[in-house]
Each structure stands twice: as C-alpha cells, then as structure tokens.
Amino acid sequence: MIYWYQSAIKFVKNLTTTVKLHAKSMGKNVLITSNEYMAWFPHIILTPYMDVIYVETNQFLLPPGQTNQVIYKMALASGNYSKHV
C-alpha cells in the first residue's frame, strides 16, 4: 500500500515542481490545487504539494465512527493544519 501511495506522491511532487519552476521562469506564481473527498490518508499526504485544497463534503460516505462530518473533514483536509480549507 505504501508503495502505491509513494507512486502517487512522486507523481504529484515531480509534476508540481515542473509546473511551478516553469511558472517561476515566466515570473508567475501558479497555484496548485486538488480536491478532497473524505480526508483519507492518501489525500492528506498530498497536501504539502498543494497550495489550496477543495473540500467536497457530498461525495462519499465518511469513515465509520465519525459523527461530525463537516468538522472532521475540514480539520483533516488541512493535513498539517497549515492550509486554509
């Protein structure tokens, strides 16, 4: 499982680095964004490579045991709590 997540992280990391570098060479700052379905582990580990995360609260059922959907999703979507959601 970790291997598959690593593949996704590498992909996003390389892609965002390439895109950001190109934008910088043109004197621009491009925002990289992605969507957040249910604040699941693979989403959270991608947050360091994103400038903005969109929270989509209506797409999937929540993980079991969660009663406060909005708070749970918004808190976890921020990953390391450095992102505004």
């Binding site: 593949s7 996704a8 390439t18 700052n29 925002l31 990289i32 992605s34 903005v52």
Partner: protein, 286 residues
C-alpha cells in the same frame, strides 16, 4: 605497474586515494572509484558489474571473470564501503534508474511515442497508460449512460513517465496561455483503487514500479522463502493466485470504442481466504 616497479612513477598513497574519494561528489563515480581502489578489480570488471554479482549480506563481489591470464573469482567489500553502498549508493541508484533508465533506452527513438517498459511502441497512450485490473482489463469508469452514450474516464498509472511528461506539457501550455491555477483532479489514486486497478504485471509501468519496490524491500533470501525465485517476470495477480488458489472474478467485460476491454461496474476479485491473502508479506509489508 611496470613503470612503478622500475621506479619511474610513485603509486598514490592511501591518504591521497582517500582524499580523491572524498572529493568526488557524484555517488555513481564515487562508488566506481572506491571499488577500483579497494578491490583491485579491473576497470572493465567494475563497469560490467551487476547487482546480481554483489552479495551484500556476505560483503562479497563475484566478478565471475575467467580468462587465460586472470582467474578473478571474488572480492570483498569493506565495512565502510558496505555502509556507503546501503546508505547512499542504493537510494541514489533507485533515483538514477527511475530518471534515466527510460531516457537511455529511448536514445535514437521517437521520444513523443509512448512505449512499454520493454521498449515496444504502444499503439496509443491508453493501452500503455491505463491501470490494469486483476485479469488485465483497462481500469475505467463508464459515464454518460444518462446521455445514452459511452464515454469513459481512465485511471492512469502514475509510474508511467510518458503520462507524467504529457501532463506536465499540458500544464505548461495552460500557464503559457495565462492560467494562474492548476487543478489536479484526484491525483491520489483513489479511483485506481476504487475501480480495482493497480494489478499490472511486469509488462506495465505500474508492475515494473512494484518490482523495483519489492527489490528494495525484500532480500533474495526473503523472496525465495516467499516462493519468488525471480522478480524479472513477476506478476502480483499470478503470484497470489498460485499461492492462495485462483480467486472468483466478478466482471462485466465490455469493449470500448472498439479497442479497449474494460469492466464496468469494476471487476471484483474474491479469494477463498481473504485474511490469509492480506497477511502475505507483500501485502503486509509496506
């Protein structure tokens, strides 16, 4: 050697050799220099060395060199070199292969054409790019039923270098046209999982990525104990089927656009004893 023995030249001292090694910054160049200095192997032997000839558990290099003039069977790896290989060289090698293996194998070819890991040119980006199900079907989601037509969304393999380059190229084009923001829809492989993908064998990029990962996680002895004699043609689907019995497959095959065999709803794989399968070292070990 002859000039040194005749007194015309002096051999470098151990300190000088160490100083040279310390000043080499490229990890590949450094390991080459250190092996040459420490083992006494000939340059051609070092350049032809493969990982199969290096036994790290015993700290032995087997050059397997046999000629009329030299019978070089084994050399030894010192403890500092062993530390350098495991801590610095192997991670660097992984990075190097990932970045350059494909580029090197594509020299002289049309770089725009998408290829399989073995260098075969793919007939289209989907055939080489789409993730594969347990039975090898393309991992897609069929949409547009309401509109009475069959469109599909494809889950791509993130390990495929062409896919990454392709996406980067289009992101750059949109920036050049004035975009200030790039939105990546589900780059986390969530859909690849949900649509039962990631089963590609050694002929796919995702399968090759898994093989590289297994090589880095398990030793040869551990792989043998698991019943894997060679990773070269490894297929996770075949491995699990042979070890735990053929699973029941629930699938609805359909041919999309006359070219792609996919399944919608996603293909499901039911092993007889799921708990046992999940405890397999490959699935249990990260």
């Amino acid at each position: 050697m002859q000039r040194i023995m005749l007194g015309y030249e002096k051999p470098p001292t151990l300190e000088e050799i160490k100083r040279v090694a310390k000043n080499i910054t490229n990890v590949g160049a450094k390991i080459t220099f250190v092996i040459l200095a420490e083992t006494g192997l000939r340059p051609v032997e070092v350049f032809n060395l493969t990982m199969k000839q290096v036994d790290l558990s015993e700290r032995i290099i087997r050059p397997l060199h046999l000629s009329k003039t030299k019978r070089a069977y084994i050399s030894f790896i010192s403890k500092p070199m062993y530390k350098f290989i495991t801590k610095q060289y192997l991670p660097w090698r992984e990075w190097f292969l990932e970045h350059y293996q494909n580029a090197v194998s594509n020299i002289g070819r049309d770089a725009e054409k998408w290829m399989y890991p073995n260098g075969t040119v793919a007939k289209d980006p989907y055939s080489v790019g789409a993730s594969r199900s347990f039975t090898g079907k393309y991992v897609v989601r069929v949409i547009g039923k309401e509109l009475d037509r069959r469109d599909f969304v494809t889950a791509m393999q993130p390990q495929n270098p062409y896919w990454q380059k392709f996406l980067a190229k289009w992101c750059i084009k949109t920036i050049d046209l004035g975009a200030d923001m790039i939105f990546l829809d589900s780059p986390d492989m969530l859909f690849t999982f949900n649509w039962d993908g990631d089963w590609g064998d050694n002929e796919t990029w995702e399968g090759q990525g898994l093989i590289r990962h297994l090589r880095s996680v398990f030793s040869n002895e551990e792989l043998t104990a698991m019943g894997i004699n060679s990773l070269e043609n490894f297929s996770l689907a075949k491995y699990l089927s042979m070890k735990y019995g053929k699973p029941k497959i629930y699938t609805t095959p359909m041919i999309l656009r006359g070219a792609f065999t996919a399944s919608w709803p996603p293909e499901s794989v039911a092993f007889n004893n799921v708990t046992e399968v999940l405890q397999d070292p490959i699935l249990e070990n990260p």
